[in-house]
Symmetry: C3
Subunit: 432 residues, 3 copies
Amino acid sequence: MSSPFATNMRFKFPALAISLQIILIILFGIFVRYDTNHEHGHENITAEDDTFITLYPLFQDVHVMIFVGFGFLMTFLKRYGFSSIGINMLIAAFGLQWGTLMQGFWHLHNGKINIDILKMINADFSTATVLISFGAVLGKTSPIQMLIMTIIEIAVFACNEHLLSFLEVSDIGASMAIHAFGAYFGLAVARVLYRPALTNGHENEGSVYHSDLFAMIGTLFLWMFWPSFNSAIAEPGEHQERAIVNTYFSLAASVLTAYAFSSLFEHKGKLDMVHIQNATLAGGVAVGTCADMNINPFGAMIIGFTAGIISTIGFKFLTPILASKLKIQDTCGVHNLHGLPGVLGGLAGIIAAVMGAKENVSAAMQSAGLASSIGIAVSGGLITGFILKLPFWGQPPDQNCYDDSIYWEVPLEEGEQENHYEEGRNKIKIES
Amino acid sequence: MSSPFATNMRFKFPALAISLQIILIILFGIFVRYDTNHEHGHENITAEDDTFITLYPLFQDVHVMIFVGFGFLMTFLKRYGFSSIGINMLIAAFGLQWGTLMQGFWHLHNGKINIDILKMINADFSTATVLISFGAVLGKTSPIQMLIMTIIEIAVFACNEHLLSFLEVSDIGASMAIHAFGAYFGLAVARVLYRPALTNGHENEGSVYHSDLFAMIGTLFLWMFWPSFNSAIAEPGEHQERAIVNTYFSLAASVLTAYAFSSLFEHKGKLDMVHIQNATLAGGVAVGTCADMNINPFGAMIIGFTAGIISTIGFKFLTPILASKLKIQDTCGVHNLHGLPGVLGGLAGIIAAVMGAKENVSAAMQSAGLASSIGIAVSGGLITGFILKLPFWGQPPDQNCYDDSIYWEVPLEEGEQENHYEEGRNKIKIES
Amino acid sequence: MSSPFATNMRFKFPALAISLQIILIILFGIFVRYDTNHEHGHENITAEDDTFITLYPLFQDVHVMIFVGFGFLMTFLKRYGFSSIGINMLIAAFGLQWGTLMQGFWHLHNGKINIDILKMINADFSTATVLISFGAVLGKTSPIQMLIMTIIEIAVFACNEHLLSFLEVSDIGASMAIHAFGAYFGLAVARVLYRPALTNGHENEGSVYHSDLFAMIGTLFLWMFWPSFNSAIAEPGEHQERAIVNTYFSLAASVLTAYAFSSLFEHKGKLDMVHIQNATLAGGVAVGTCADMNINPFGAMIIGFTAGIISTIGFKFLTPILASKLKIQDTCGVHNLHGLPGVLGGLAGIIAAVMGAKENVSAAMQSAGLASSIGIAVSGGLITGFILKLPFWGQPPDQNCYDDSIYWEVPLEEGEQENHYEEGRNKIKIES
């Protein structure tokens, strides 16, 4: 592969990955400790301990969403499953370490970051923003570019999150801070990395039967565990329970409208896997901001109902417009799954604030939080895009987009298997 | 597609799905509230809160069984994976909302249904009955028919469940109330929807290598989390722990006998994936009724041992007879996984009652519970079958059975990919 | 199939499986009871109960690792998915019952084994050793051989575990007792079962695109839930939390180095799925022994960093040498995932003991524990290998290795489907 596409990663990628890991270890050595509220040698279970092990199952649910949920959701492409799962894992494993630092620096205790279960949940959360953005540029970027995006995006995310916290914005399920932020960050990156040659699609930019089934593994684990995502860091008791209940019913409602509108948009009324894989999740995104508010189950269902509709409409009508008019090629449609429902979630939070659904929540501050999340995301994404456009990060040439074989050793396909079999047969001495 | 098979769902399906969701939102607005035992502003963790978050992991296990377990278990068919996973999700998402109402109406507090974790677990349970019945008619029904079946079956299920509760029947893991009920309801529907043209099978009514692996995802998540299913609503402490322990060992025993009998029935002693995917789960079904009783681990193992055998025998000898003599075409063999082991579970409960394995449990009432569950299921299923037979629900014609492409946009297959690739190549301007 | 390969399992396998299950039921009847610390009729939740339900989510995580994690990890072979998942399930379901007895016999109370949640976790653990060994001989053994290996290996494992406990060796995540033990046991078996005809590989000993994706399901569930594996039986509170935190960060670090070295070793810098599926998990294995020690997060990350490197090096350079020089054909590379990182974990434990990272831990005893685990494993494995070499266990002939169809009814492949379809079409009377 000749320049300007230096896609051979042999030395650049290992050097970057190992350097980053060594830097992380040094910074962890300086800054990161176990949570020190425990007395050494004191072995009774304290309330603090209790929180750790009580929230641990919710942490694990979020963990599954990050690694299996996001990972498999992106395996829908016919020849890009290794990258979807594999680069997802790489981003998340690096991102959770980096996120621990970036978020922890805003909350030092005696110059140290004390790791508890909430820090781990938040570290996982910080990787979610990058995985959402990854969906917008899926198939068109190199692992090196994704590591660099992770570094920048998590740093910017932690700043925005701190700003929201300073403004006392209520966003327990992070419709704004994670979903809208991740989506608009990724769309801004995709805008800068626009590829004119892919305007009319690409032969690999589609699914096959089995890849759509693999993607449903991702969809279902995201769908099932979303109540944990929206409640994991909520105040224990009433608020946490509400967050679980509201998310449970909002998701259920968005399934019905996603299916209905998917069928409505096809001339024979057939269902489209793209909508089922994605728009069914919109209820989880959109109910995020008000998940712990007193909106009642039917309020949550109205949010989910609406989210399923706008998400499906987005896939059907907005994605083509984004690509043709705004030159934003959004591979996974993150705008429809995270962007629009994230904004809807922010707006729902403003309305809920006006209606007094949670104490001490101001509609003005909620609005500021939504504007801040989108504004900072777009700015950060544009800058990141220009950095990623530099010619030495190993970006794939157009014809190798959506193709695992440029960065992965790929086994022979079913069709090619036959020859391999014949060769193999000759090589082996069989004793029967 | 000409009548009498009006399989074009374009307006019927969206209209039905949206109407149902709007009705649900209105009914939830009138009847459903958060659990109101909390004092507003009181933020200490009460015992009640503790129950919610303590049982939440068990709820999530059940949730995984419903959406991933049942969903993937049915993906064994070669060209029906989208429907298996997708219609499973649709039924469950609609059913959990509908089930909340149908079960809640029997337990109103001041005219309201107060949502707590047990209500959510029970809502998931109510969908399980429909998903079991779905297995009996898989591949031969439309999404519209399945929504209608869900409406009726959950209503009937809630009545039977209330009757069992009134009779003080002990059925903690719902061998009778869910498994036998769901199976016989589905078999009755299948009887009415009998298709003579499918007597000799259908070209799509089989598995391929990969579809059998997808189905094992379902099997394993059902198998692993079955102890949660059987214990989730048990009395905390001793009874709940027993339910977990008994189910753990019963399932293990049924694996050994399912494998043994699968091998025994093939003339070269080979294992059959149908048995491994299903009969290994029979131990979980059959131990359900006495899961929280004092039957000791070896008692649970005897139940599992027996269940694995009768389930495998059912697949080998009974399914063909059901199809040829009774005209019941049971696609997934739910009679062998849920019907027979469910009845076994009911009988085991009667014996355990006689032996005094749980206080205040009467063998007579247990017998009444088993009879009621089967009788109401068969009646309800027959009526439902006749309703579903009406010609305007979009039922697929015989030759399109077991085929996703009638209700789903299906991507080109591996074989067809080649042409698509060539076309794609010509369409795109490549700059290298 | 002529002798000496009597691969027809029809009577041998069922007879063995049923006999074993009957023996288990009898032994359980004699020895196994529910945990009897509960007073009958006393229904308050005691501290004991609390432990059961508090640890239950961690047990379920371990359970998922055993059945889905180990099972799917081995599905990478193109035509051996049924066996990988299916025999994994068989071994685990038999092994957890057998392990309950073998471990319980060392801790009888009044002649009884009282089942609590820790006993169940340990029973699952005991099966992990066999599943690791299974990986070394995958594709070259019969289900009968695997049942026999399970009987012997779990018995030997329980003895070694008891010895380690007697020596007061600290090995909370079982780097030595499970991972090194299982690996060297399996390698010793593989050495005895060496097949010269497979020296140059076998046509089925490779992956296809989809089988590598299935294997990633296994990898990810192992990776995510490893913190539960390393902490499930740790002392509640500080130690348990440390085990979770340390494992979380160690795993993350090993991902970065596994990816880096995988790329470094390929001449175009491409990533290899074998490394990604396996070496990313090495951090979990290697941090096991010191998981609950005060090594700080950066200490855990150094262990993970190193483990990812040595594991990838092992796959690249050591596996071929083992096969050619030592005549050990290690199908899944368990030496690189469990053997080397297990030894690293043992050494890290010795260093941590010297540095005083946990009270009452002696470097000498830690060394003795490592030596004992490897020594007993190799001895036990060699003896087991000679037993398995006896000609009547149904071992497959060389040309049928790595092929499901020798022990499973396998559906027609995609390529063969076409004919089947045509035949099917003729068989069926279609009414449209």
